[in-house]
């Protein structure tokens, strides 16, 4: 044929999905690390230090965290820009889609709308969170985080972010599987039902995990409120005098 295909649309679609996939994997991992607080302040402390590169370099470099935050931000930006193309672009489109969704009462169509809404919300919520992480990478830790969440009232942001991101990520992964997945036509109905079940399971799991850790941060934050700003000392250092 012509030999000059416009690969743009293919690349854009791949990139949209790939960025989504990476973000999902990141956020799931992030949830496990961040909920290390459930295992105790020390666990969380160690995780924090780990990400600041202490095991590697012998001392923490919070800038590393800023770096990761920047990368993630770029990923989100790329993903959002690509996904934005799919948003209803005009009032007419929006009306058409809404009428369509309302009449059809079709779960997967509605789920897409949920993705659009949560995506839209994430645009602000995730940016806010990332900004904090980016600007104050050293301000992460059992007390620092808890104080931010309780005394700094960040729990409101996180509660919203939690719901949005997990709905968005769960649905997104399901969509990715349906969108690209080499599912044999013969068993596709069954496969889809299973995927859907898995999606809800994953969403529920992370919402529970997130709620539990957020609650834990909030408890710690409330107890620590009088000393807000004070940094956490891991158990093995607390014994050493003169180490503030």
């Amino acid at each position: 044929m012509t030999g000059k295909l416009d690969r743009g649309p293919a690349r854009a679609d791949i990139l949209q999905s790939l960025s989504g996939l990476l973000l999902v994997l990141f956020i799931w991992g992030h949830m496990f690390f961040e909920s290390s607080i459930l295992l105790g302040k020390d666990a969380m402390y160690r995780v924090t230090r780990m990400f600041e590169g202490e095991p590697l370099f012998g001392k923490p470099y919070p800038l590393l965290v800023s770096g990761v935050a920047a990368i993630i931000f770029v990923l989100i930006a790329v993903h959002a820009v690509l996904a934005l193309r799919k948003f209803p672009g005009s009032h007419r489109q929006y009306r058409e889609f809404n009428a369509h969704m309302g009449a059809m009462r079709h779960p997967d169509t509605t789920l897409w709308y949920v993705q659009v809404l949560t995506g839209f919300a994430l645009f602000f919520l995730a940016s806010a969170h990332l900004l904090v992480v980016f600007l104050q990478p050293d301000n992460i830790g059992p007390y620092a985080s808890s104080d931010r969440i309780w005394s700094g009232r960040f729990w409101i942001l996180y509660a919203l972010l939690l719901v949005c991101v997990h709905l968005h990520a769960g649905i997104g992964i399901y969509r990715l599987a349906m969108k690209w997945g080499p599912i044999p036509a013969a068993g596709s109905k069954v496969a889809r039902r299973r995927l859907k079940l898995a999606m809800w399971g994953i969403i529920a799991f992370f919402l529970c995990l997130g709620t539990a850790s957020l609650a834990t941060y909030m408890y710690i934050g409330r107890d620590h409120a009088p000393h807000a700003g004070e940094r956490y000392l891991p158990a093995h250092q607390q014994a050493l005098p003169g180490n503030t």
């Binding site: 295909l5 416009d6 649309p9 169509t109 897409w112 969108k179």
Partner: protein, 248 residues
């Protein structure tokens, strides 16, 4: 001994129809309600025919085969697209709302111009076997052999009756008028599968490798769920997406 399932208590159906005659300058889209007695094994074809014959002879709708095989009678039945001729009223509540398929040009009342849309789609996606040797075909000679399973697989995808339900069920198609819909994407996979069609992936990419083609599909899956022929649309679109994404 009668095993034709019968419903005992007769219901009075209230059928609400979205009426509009674009040829009539005075016509405004409006809902009109008709009441009819339900009969045994009544389909929407029977119900609508009765309404036209007894109550309102100007009512427009399309039926051809009345047997679920020609794809003429797609309409929105209580919010969802489906084939009216094979929808039994006993599977519906007493209150039934009918509207024309959206995304197609309205001819009048429940009648829409799916034919024009489909012809446009066919022309655009070139849904026919492209082969060099069709010109000089020797029809006296034995036919070329084909694996039996392959023939069956092709037929699997060929079962589409171009009813337009998948287009009406697709939020993407509702938002973008140039989207080829699951029907178009499925037909492309049908010809891609067919060894008689000599087109390369690059050629197919030229047809569907953009936002109005396979990359426009947002995997809403309404098509798959509403297709009256149960075509494996989701897997076909996924397949096509993979092939097209891998095309250089």
């Amino acid at each position: 001994m009668n095993r034709i399932p019968l419903r005992q208590a007769a219901r009075t159906l209230r059928i609400q129809i979205l009426r509009h005659n674009p040829r009539d300058p005075d016509s405004q889209p409006r809902l009109q309600t008709f009441e009819i007695e339900e009969a045994d094994a009544m389909t929407l074809f029977i119900a609508l025919t009765e309404i036209r014959e007894r109550q309102d002879p100007s009512l427009q709708f399309d039926f051809v085969c009345r047997a679920g095989i020609c794809g003429s009678c797609g309409m929105i039945i209580n919010g969802r697209p489906g084939l009216a001729c094979r929808t039994l009223t006993r599977d519906l509540p007493e209150q039934i709302t009918l509207a024309p398929l959206p995304a197609f040009e309205l001819i009048g009342d429940l009648s829409v111009n799916t034919g024009k849309w489909m012809r446009g789609m066919s022309e655009r996606l070139e849904t026919w076997v492209h082969s060099q040797n069709l010109e000089s075909l020797d029809i006296d000679a034995m036919e070329a052999a084909m694996e039996p399973e392959l023939a069956e697989q092709i037929y699997e995808l060929e079962r589409c009756i171009e009813c337009g339900c998948c287009v009406a069920a697709c939020g993407t198609a509702r938002m973008r008028e140039d989207f080829v819909g699951a029907v178009g994407l499925n037909q492309v996979t049908r010809f891609r599968l067919d060894p008689r069609d000599e087109r390369s992936d690059a050629a197919f990419y030229e047809l569907v490798g953009d936002e109005s083609g396979v990359f426009g599909c947002m995997t809403l899956l309404g098509c798959e769920d509403m297709c009256p022929k149960d075509l494996p649309l989701a897997t076909q679109i996924a397949f096509l997406r993979r092939r097209m994404a891998a095309t250089t």
